[in-house]
């Protein structure tokens, strides 16, 4: 096969490729990343490039006529047939912060893997809207409005049991007549019945929504999902307002004993979710009443508090939750600011400290259908770990604390614009260069930045293996009232009106967090008498931002020292699983099944976990042989 040269401008880089290779592939060889969200099938139209000269074949695809007329083609659907010169416009380039899919070029950096959520499931949302044109009543065909509605509705849904709430029924007569008998009926379908949630005039099938929520101990994330297509309209995240009542689940449970404690906690989380819904509806110009369902996933304590159930007895022997399978409730009962008749679903909890969030994670990663042995690690305030495959699933939880979500860290923050996500420290001069999310001025450090930070401080010899600072002479190292700290970004370069620092206390905090996660992994493996070698794949979930610096995560002893190829970073699987359950009723049923299939292992029984925890409070670990790839 003949070889041709492709030259890219403005870089003026040439690569030799074989005939039939796409321009996008050729660009990748030249080290230039071109945007694509459709998986290179020519539908997203983001990879438009301009061919300046040469022979090529256009396989066609979705590109605007304006661009086509100006000589643009889709890089993924255009193959090389001769020497080419190609200009790549700035808007088609992938700059680093937009990387959300695929693999990073850099070794040791894991980029979030996009999961094909619906794979294997039918698009069959838990809430659906049908458009009905009812025959108007006459003096001879004089059935009631409701009978008329049900008769027409039965042609569209096969649920024998259709229910209508009083509030909708009260407006039915007027709505039908004002709409000239043409209405859109939205129903939530579960437990064998169809619950009408709204009746609107005209065809409004394209403007119905639902929200998927991950209720984390520290952070809450919501996706606004369009019901007709399943696409995510937008996402929003914030800190859980419960944080002021305690950092971890245990302190929240203890707070329940305060006067009005439960009510305060319940209101705080409802308020947090409402705030996110408000933000999403405003951003997208939709009415809150067009949101008909909320699917929430969270650990058991969060789920209890979300529904206003007391989690008190979970902490006390014999550790019993109020409910494991949580029933759907209406939005008006909970006080969620969506359609008041809309339904709120919660993923069922599995054990006292392993909840719906992990079930959600298992659901959307398809771990319970895998032939390979998978280790799934959700790094949150309540670190949860699942090991298994299609034959078995065992799980445990370890309290890692909020450090990796930025909680309890002087300048910690969520992975949002301005958060330092990567940094480099010069071992000679101790100068620091940082990279932030969205390339904004640095305002704090997010989880991936914190992992990086510890690894780089250690590399530069600034901290010892216990996280203690070494005394070095640089203005960046100084003492504050509580102890030593290191300046990452000076005030003049930061987006806040002070220096961004990391203190020794922050570092110790992070070491405790990483120690808990690693100890959880080791303990779980010990309990089932398995070695790391038998694990084929390790999935990492958590709100780290776009990247997880794997080699640094291994270097600090957060994750086991196994080859990079075994790792996948899957992002926030809790909210993704909730989204999937909204889009597929089968998936929602499977989630309940998965919850029942998992075996929970209590780490607080016996000494294994404590032993492992203390030996993990070292960089990377007291037993250095567990980290052969980390240089001494």
């Amino acid at each position: 096969m003949s070889k041709f040269s492709v030259t890219f401008f403005p870089e003026n880089i040439s690569v030799e490729v074989e005939e039939g290779v796409s321009i996008k592939q050729a660009a990748a060889l030249a080290g230039i990343e071109i945007k694509s969200t459709c998986g290179e099938v020519g539908t997203c139209g983001r990879c438009a490039v301009k061919v300046q000269g040469g022979k090529y074949k256009d396989l066609g695809g979705n590109i605007s006529s304006r661009l086509r007329n100006s000589g643009h083609v889709l890089a993924c659907r255009t193959v090389v047939e001769g020497d080419l010169t190609v200009e790549i416009p700035a808007e088609s380039r992938l700059d680093e912060h937009q990387v959300l899919v695929g693999h990073s070029q850099e070794k040791g950096i894991l980029v979030e893997k996009e999961l094909d959520l619906l794979e294997g499931y039918q698009f069959n949302p838990i809430c659906r809207t049908v458009y009905l044109e009812l025959p108007p009543p006459t003096i001879t065909e004089n059935a009631s409005d409701l009978t008329r509605l049900y008769a027409e509705l039965r042609k569209h849904v096969d649920y024998p049991d259709i229910r209508i709430p009083l509030a909708v029924l009260q407006n039915l007569a007027v709505t039908l007549r004002e709409a000239d008998w043409k209405v859109s009926v939205t129903m939530a379908c579960f437990n064998g019945s169809a619950q009408i949630v709204s009746i609107e005039a005209g065809d409004t099938r394209e403007s119905q929504y639902a929200v998927a929520v991950d209720i984390g101990t520290t952070t809450v994330v919501a996706y606004l999902v369009k019901l007709s297509t399943g696409e995510i309209m937008g996402s929003a995240g914030t800190y859980n307002k419960q944080a002021r009542f305690g950092d971890d689940v245990i302190s929240r449970i203890i707070y329940v004993n305060e006067p009005n404690g439960l009510e305060q906690l319940h209101k705080a989380v409802i308020g947090t979710v409402n705030e996110l819904i408000d933000k999403l509806t405003k951003e997208h110009g939709i009415s809150p009443s067009s949101i008909h369902a909320v699917m929430s996933a969270g650990n058991s304590i969060m789920a209890h508090l979300f529904l206003g159930l007391t989690p008190k007895y979970i902490r006390l022997d014999p550790y019993i939750p109020t409910a494991a399978d949580l029933p759907p409730v209406t939005a008006k009962e909970l006080g969620l600011m969506i359609n008041p008749e809309g339904w709120v679903f919660s993923f069922s909890a599995l054990a006292s400290y392993v909840g719906g969030d992990i079930v959600s994670g298992v659901l959307c990663t398809r771990m319970s259908e895998s032939d390979e042995m998978v280790l799934f690690i959700d790094i949150g305030t309540n670190g949860e770990i699942v090991l298994g495959n299609r034959d078995f699933l065992v799980t445990c939880a370890c309290s890692a604390g909020p450090a990796f979500e930025g909680g309890g860290i002087t300048h910690g923050m969520r992975a949002m614009k301005g958060a330092i996500e990567r940094l480099v420290i010069d071992p000679e001069t101790y100068e620091v260069s940082v990279q932030t999310v969205g390339n904004g001025k640095p305002v704090g450090i997010c989880g991936s930045g914190l992992i990086d930070c510890i690894a780089k401080l250690r590399d530069a010899g600034l901290i010892d293996r216990t996280g203690q600072f070494q005394q070095v002479s640089t203005p960046r190292y100084r003492m504050n009232e509580e102890g030593p700290e290191f300046v990452l970004v000076w005030e003049k370069d930061s987006g806040i009106d002070k220096d961004i620092v990391i203190t020794e206390a922050d570092i110790k905090n992070l070491i405790r967090s990483k120690g808990a996660v690693y100890a959880g992994i080791r303990s779980l493996l010990q309990m089932v008498s398995m070695d790391l070698e038998v694990i084929d794949k390790i999935l990492i979930a958590g709100g780290f931002g776009n990247y997880l610096n794997l080699s640094d995560a291994i270097k600090i002893g957060l994750l086991p020292d196994v080859p990079e190829e075994k790792y996948e970073f899957v992002g926030n699987t809790s909210v993704k699983g909730a989204q999937l359950a909204l889009l597929s009723r089968e998936a929602y049923k499977d989630a309940i099944e998965i919850g029942r299939k998992m075996t929970y292992i209590e780490l607080s029984v016996g000494n294994t976990f404590m032993d492992e925890f203390v030996s993990a409070l070292f960089l990377p670990h007291t037993d250095l042989t567990l980290f052969p790839s980390v240089p001494v």
Binding site: D464, R465, D611, F618, V632
Partner: protein, 323 residues
């Protein structure tokens, strides 16, 4: 058919640490003391070599200590003279080593100056020929200043200095490196911290053969079983080749024993417990002999009669039981 008895052979052994330096070696000691080197569980002569016998150090302080009368009466003539006190310990009571605690340097105990303390150390060195163990006053800041100065003043003597702890190991480690001494790495009854501290110290390039570990003990009746199991784990680790957990061990038996009420309560206060002094001696002796079985190499003790009993016991244990 002959019965074949299984013996567990070890892959590795406890490293040897030598304390003290003679004139030829650049010091002024009459002899050196070497501990460690075991390649079997304690006194399993049939499974490996128990190379060096465990040794006993008697404690001397630079100020008159607030000890029980049953102890002080044996030192009453010398208790205000550290040099003579040390001499008595060696010549009359058979101490293999002198454990000199510079307690008077503590801000609450008179806040002796560094120079005064150095003078005490020199006096003790001049009075006895055995190697010394020198520990500070348990005030981090003062110790960092004090021990560095003492280490410098005694350079060449190859003494044993303590205590390095996880939160404060750097200055003492550096001093021991520069002035060629050995170090006691003390951890709070935690095998992981014990190992971590060894890693931290050795990462400052102090050789493993210059570290003695003090994993902290609980006295008899006060958690000795925790100490026992930690010592046991450390020894098993050492024999399996875990270098960072393999060093010889010092145990502060005298200190822990003589603060128990069982060792100090008078007969009048509790007649059924019997003679107080005999009880105290036995309490210290039992604590020491139990820990010997767990693998202690240096015993810090206080009562001369306990020392005699324990040394006799060590003699018996060192008789080979090989078959």
């Amino acid at each position: 058919m002959a019965v074949e008895i299984l013996r567990e052979k070890s892959r590795a052994s406890v490293p040897e640490v030598t304390i003290g330096a003679t004139k030829e070696e650049g010091g002024t000691r009459t002899h050196t003391i070497t501990v460690g080197g075991d390649s079997a569980l304690p006194f399993h002569h049939f499974e490996g070599e128990i190379k060096n016998r465990p040794v006993v150090a008697l404690e001397v302080q630079d100020i008159v200590p607030q000890w029980h009368e049953n102890l002080t009466k044996y030192y009453s003539d010398v208790i205000d003279n550290p040099g003579q006190w040390a001499k008595k310990c060696v010549e009359e009571y058979g101490a293999d080593l002198i454990y000199l605690k510079l307690n008077g340097a503590h801000p609450d105990n008179g806040n002796k100056s560094v120079e005064e303390c150095v003078a005490v150390v020199k006096d003790v060195l001049a009075s006895v020929g055995v190697p010394l163990i020198i520990v500070g006053c348990d005030d981090e800041q003062k110790d960092n200043e004090l021990l560095v100065a003492v280490a410098e003043a005694t350079a060449g003597e190859n003494l044993l200095f303590g205590n390095a702890e996880q939160t404060n190991y750097k200055s003492l480690t550096a001093a021991c490196m520069v002035h060629k001494h050995n170090i006691i790495a003390r951890s709070p009854l935690d095998i992981n911290i014990c190992k971590q501290l060894n890693i931290l110290i050795s990462e400052m390039n102090l050789p493993l053969s210059r570290i003695i570990i003090d994993p902290t003990i609980g006295g008899l009746g006060y958690g000795i079983e925790y100490a026992y199991s930690i010592l046991e784990r450390a020894r098993l680790g050492a024999l399996q080749g875990d270098k960072m957990l393999s060093m010889p061990v010092i145990a502060t038996v005298g200190y822990e024993s003589w603060r128990t009420k069982e060792a100090t309560l008078s007969e009048e206060e509790n007649p059924s417990w019997g003679d107080a002094e005999e009880r105290g001696i036995l309490w210290e002796t039992t604590c020491a002999t139990a820990l010997l079985q767990a693998g202690v190499n240096i015993l810090l003790m206080r009562h001369p009669k306990s020392v005699a009993l324990v040394k006799k016991h060590i003699d018996d244990l060192m008789v080979s039981n090989n078959y």
